[in-house]
């Protein structure tokens, strides 16, 4: 039987890691970007500032960005573990993380405009549960910032203006348009989480789940791996650059998933993750042993 207090404690530590420590692969990609930029360009300066900021946050155990976003979490649990117990432990963890300033109070009552003050609210955090055969509990999460959430998009194919039909070439076209439309506003350089297919609900969920993949992860489907590599290259050729200052580093990664669709629908859904691609995870064994994932 899982001990709810231990769970809360472990979840709190996972959230602290997410908010204050940027995953190594993201730091590496930002550093590569810095090297690729022209010396003394604004793009280079922006990336230097970002990398300094990441170091400082880790040292000070303080949030990388003041917008600590929405905690979006996928929870796998064994047969017989109550999802209500898990949910309560997670909500408590988010509240404690907010009280300890790892998270900003980020839930606003949409009707009154009043901040709930505790970091949680209706639909916040966003939790997705799945039962599995393993005896372990596994949680994977991202903190999804508001500025980057605002530049997400859902396209409906065909899109005549972009010459985008219902095939992977059409997908490529709308993805490049989305990168162009975002400019620097989602705090570029960012990562595209993409879902081809699905409906208007499942598409966004899958597009966010794609953002759990580490940047070096190669898509097991060869056509999609090719699409990811091509959009990454061409997205960077657009020249938007860090913060929209112009430059070579606009995207850090492109991650594409697929869901089946209705015959009448062909959605391409894009979630944009800002440079502060805060990802974390934990696996809790049957005996309570904890393994940190990234």
């Amino acid at each position: 039987m899982v001990d709810p207090d231990r769970l809360t404690e472990t979840f709190l530590e996972m959230i602290r890691r997410a908010s204050t420590e940027l995953p190594a692969d993201v730091v590496e990609a930002l550093d590569k970007g810095r090297e690729a930029e022209r010396r003394d360009s604004l793009a280079e300066k922006a990336l230097v500032t970002i990398l300094d900021n990441v170091d400082l946050a880790r040292q000070k155990v303080a949030p990388i960005c003041q917008d600590t976003g929405t905690p979006v979490m996928w929870i796998h649990h064994p047969i017989g573990v109550s999802t209500r117990v898990l949910e309560k432990a997670m909500v408590d963890a988010v509240r404690q993380a907010t009280a300890r300033q790892f998270l900003r109070p980020n839930a606003v009552d949409t009707l009154t405009g009043k901040n709930t003050g505790v970091g949680t609210g209706r639909g916040i955090p966003f939790l997705h549960f799945e039962e599995w055969d393993s005896p372990d509990i596994e949680v994977r999460m991202i903190l999804k910032g508001g500025g980057s959430e605002n530049v997400g998009a859902q396209y409906k194919l065909p899109d005549n203006a972009l010459g985008a039909g219902r095939d992977l070439e059409g997908v490529r076209r709308v993805l490049l348009d989305a990168v162009f439309q975002a400019q620097g506003k989602g705090c570029s350089p960012g990562t595209l989480g993409v879902c081809i297919g699905g409906d208007r609900v499942s598409g966004y969920e899958e597009s966010k789940r794609q953002l759990l993949r580490p940047l070096p992860d190669v898509n097991p489907v060869p056509e999609l791996a090719e699409l990811e590599a091509r959009v990454l290259k061409e997205g960077n050729e657009l020249g938007v650059g860090p913060m929209g200052f112009g430059g070579r580093t606009t995207l850090l990664g492109v991650k594409v998933g697929v869901l089946d669709r209705l015959p009448a629908c062909y959605f391409v859904t894009i979630s944009y993750l800002c440079w502060a691609g805060r990802r974390a995870g934990v696996r809790i064994g049957e005996g309570g042993d904890v393994t940190w994932l990234s």
Partner: protein, 197 residues
């Protein structure tokens, strides 16, 4: 370009700044976002005016810690999206004699015109760099409208040292945002083999 001391007495110093310059600010400035901008234009705010003349307004909703002795420390202080202040900013600049705005994402034509007319610049801070920017805040001198607006929306008078920003809109009608958008649009059309979107 190295350090720029603020407040700036001489308008010529601001007129020299060009799109693409990197600047580090040292001196005194004030924060203000949505509520502050609206309030500043409702009527002349005599008590705040001296803290605005010749300096920059930083569009920022900081996280602030209060010390036991009553003083304040900026804990996280990244820029917020500027375009929301587009209806107000040019008037705030010209009425209060500001020499600049600091934010992210750039602003529109009305602000660009205001920069030219009144001798000011738009400075882009690095979005999300909350720790680096908070670290450059060396002192919180005083705060206006804290009770009424709350911490993020209050007007904080702060001292900064080597606060890093990029000039992306200048007082000569130039905007880096416009240039990057036009160039990336051209590139997109080329990649997609489209005539004109």
């Amino acid at each position: 370009m190295a350090e720029l001391k603020i407040p700036v007495d001489d308008e010529a110093v601001i007129r020299e700044l060009k799109v693409g310059d990197f600047v580090e600010l040292t001196g005194r400035m004030i924060t203000g976002r949505d509520a502050a901008h609206k309030w500043l234009l409702e009527e002349p705010r005599e008590d705040v005016a001296p803290y605005m003349k010749g300096t920059m307004i930083y569009q920022c909703g900081p996280v602030v810690r209060k010390n036991p002795d009553g003083s304040y420390v900026f804990v996280a202080a990244g820029p917020t999206t500027s375009i929301r202040e587009e209806p107000y900013e040019a008037d705030v600049i010209c009425q209060y004699g500001l020499r600049g705005v600091i934010g992210k994402g750039g602003m529109g034509q009305k602000t660009l015109d205001g920069l030219g007319r009144c001798g000011a610049v738009y400075l882009h801070a690095v979005g999300g760099a909350a720790q680096v920017l908070a670290n450059s805040v060396t002192k919180v001198e005083r705060v206006f409208m804290l009770e009424e607006f709350g911490v993020p929306e209050a007007l904080w008078v702060i001292h900064v040292e080597r606060f890093p920003v990029m000039v992306t809109m200048d007082s000569h009608g130039q905007s880096l945002h416009r240039v990057v958008e036009a160039e990336s649009r051209r590139k997109l059309e080329e990649l997609l083999g489209l005539e004109t979107l």
